[in-house]
Symmetry: C2
Subunit: 364 residues, 2 copies
């Protein structure tokens, strides 16, 4: 059989500030692949169906010498992110043809698995506290009768799991308490808002545009919602707080205001620090003396720490909530790998409402 | 019987920066008391034996409108702090003559209990998250056969209990781990250092003078000790870290450096924020994105939250460790209420090594 095109997203250069599609990230159509004859060497060949633009990936596009919590992505190789693939040829009995798999994958049309181009540190050794993202395990999944694959990137994927497991593990939600949620129109935030409402909490939420504010208030049912670009976070929290729980996706000045408006024994779930993902100057948070004065607990979370403990309960509890409409989902779906870079950067800039998803190929 | 002098420490004016004895705090000898005839109204009369200069009291000497975690002390009234008293007359069967009691007391020679002059907020209502310090309960204590009363202000009092209970509740100490302790020559810090060594941890400790550094290294056995005034905290932690536990008494730049040198899943016990007790400009901590990246847990503590749970075990475990010399104690004892203000301010300035204690009267 003849070769077919195997387009990919190429990581070309380290971005300063927001990545620029076409400059830092190139849609590369120069490669081809012979699907029937490419050597598998005991592995398997996959077709990419869906990829998931996530904020934390920004961190990986950095100078490799700079240590951070995840390994840097390799320059000159294919961009790597979360996605769903389907096995179309196999020499590995664990991954038969037709099997669906989710995990960290190169963003390209077809991949020989295990894939090449994984991050290798210059010394051959990773720092003790760096997550070797490329080595994360691929997880087999089964098709759900009513829920589309795209939701496995969002409400049933990393975003939903982060919200559900982070709340279960550290928020100790009690009906009647008040929770404050940042980036409430984002894929994690919208799940947190709804899970908190289902648990009987008063929800104060913030987002960056009036459209998002309306969505979180009218569709998701948060009690108090404001646009942080036009309204002071401190003023809102002083009026509607104190807060018992803060779900923090952003850090910086928002975290500073939240801490100052915490109730005694408040819990802060530190899930992200979006205010610094794009090499912004680091903001100095001045309200930390309240941590001991009000006996606040702050918990940094990365979802992989919880998966073993909570995955079973998550998949028992959340899909029925989605099927029954008790949890609403919203997606920003784009089609085509050629649009993946723009979808990702738009999400970093906050242009999306709900979970950004890129459909690379239909599941035929 | 004739009246006797009833000297006291008077809270005269709100300090800016470090309090000034003789200006903000006056040793007032103008009052007398008739010990045999003063009306008790169903209460009891106590003689003050020992008082305890503690750092957190500085917070109470503020403009009353400024909300903080403890109620402000009342201007023009007697200074209030932790102390030990003995009942010398009584109309209350719960507090018979000869009974020893510890708690928050006016710093004066004799007191009719319950004492007058407690903080009353202007509105008659305290903010929800303010500890009504003056209302804290008085606790009856029995004399120990070998341990002197002064230690009930330190190693067996608030300092020791804070160290022991804070570590038990939140540090999850494991042999072989590394702990970093700030203000290690202070009354809480020295207990933390020793309890951590007994638990098999590597201890990195810091103090503000070479004399203190020598004490913590040679007498308390910490593994790495440095003077933060002459050595960079970051450099030491980079060389000897990463740290699994940070005991924070100071906040500010030290906390900033500690967070940046935390291991994965590190625990920070936030016990005080000494860098801001004296109205210094608030320092902005810039390293908070590491909290989620390294899944750090920060726990603000105030010891009263733990007393019900840990007091019994504390008094079973710690006095034998002190009697046997496995835990060393060090005190800065001064005699006479006239020296109490200076003792307290010296401690705030870091001039003490070990627990500052003021002996007001002998227990005859």
């Amino acid at each position: 059989m003849s070769e077919v095109s195997n387009p990919r997203l190429l990581y070309k250069s380290v971005p300063r500030g927001y990545p620029i599609p076409g400059e830092n990230l190139i849609y590369d159509t120069s490669r081809t692949i012979d699907l029937e004859n490419v050597p598998l060497n005991g592995g398997f060949l996959t077709k990419t169906l869906v990829v998931s633009p996530q904020p934390w990936l920004r961190e990986r596009l950095r100078d490799p010498e700079r240590i951070s919590y995840s390994t840097p992505m390799r320059l000159g190789h294919t961009f790597v992110g979360f996605g769903l693939v389907k096995v179309i040829r196999s020499e590995d009995p664990d991954y038969p043809v037709g099997q669906y798999v989710v995990g960290m994958i190169p963003w390209e049309a077809y991949t020989v698995q295990p894939w090449d181009g994984k991050q290798i540190s210059a010394t051959g050794k990773l720092p003790a506290f760096t997550v070797d993202v490329d080595a994360m395990s691929m997880v087999k999944v089964a098709k759900h009768p009513t829920i589309p694959w795209s939701l496995f990137m969002g409400a049933l994927g990393g975003s939903g799991q982060t919200a559900y497991m982070g709340l279960k593990e550290h928020a100790d939600m009690k009906a009647g308490e008040t929770i404050f949620v940042s980036t409430a129109a984002g894929s994690v935030g919208m799940m947190v808002v709804q899970l908190a409402k289902l648990a009987g909490l008063k929800v104060i939420a913030t987002a960056g545009t009036d459209e998002k504010v309306n969505y979180v208030k009218n569709e998701l049912g948060a009690d108090v919602v404001f646009n942080y670009n036009t309204t002071s976070t401190s003023d809102v929290l002083q009026e509607h707080g104190p807060i018992d729980i803060y779900w923090d996706n952003v850090g910086g000045p928002t975290l500073e205001a939240a801490i100052e408006n915490c109730n005694l024994h408040a819990r802060i779930v530190a899930c992200g620090y979006m205010s610094e993902y794009n090499d912004e100057d680091r903001y100095g948070v001045k309200t930390l003396s309240w941590i001991f004065k009000r006996r606040i607990h702050i918990h940094g979370i990365v979802t992989q720490d919880f998966r073993a403990k909570w995955t079973k309960q998550f998949f028992e509890e959340v899909p029925p909530l989605i099927s029954s409409g008790k949890i609403k989902v919203k997606e920003e779906i784009v089609h085509g790998l050629e649009n993946a870079a723009t979808s990702w950067v738009d999400m970093l800039m906050g242009k999306n409402i709900g979970k950004s998803v890129v459909i690379v190929a239909e599941d035929d």
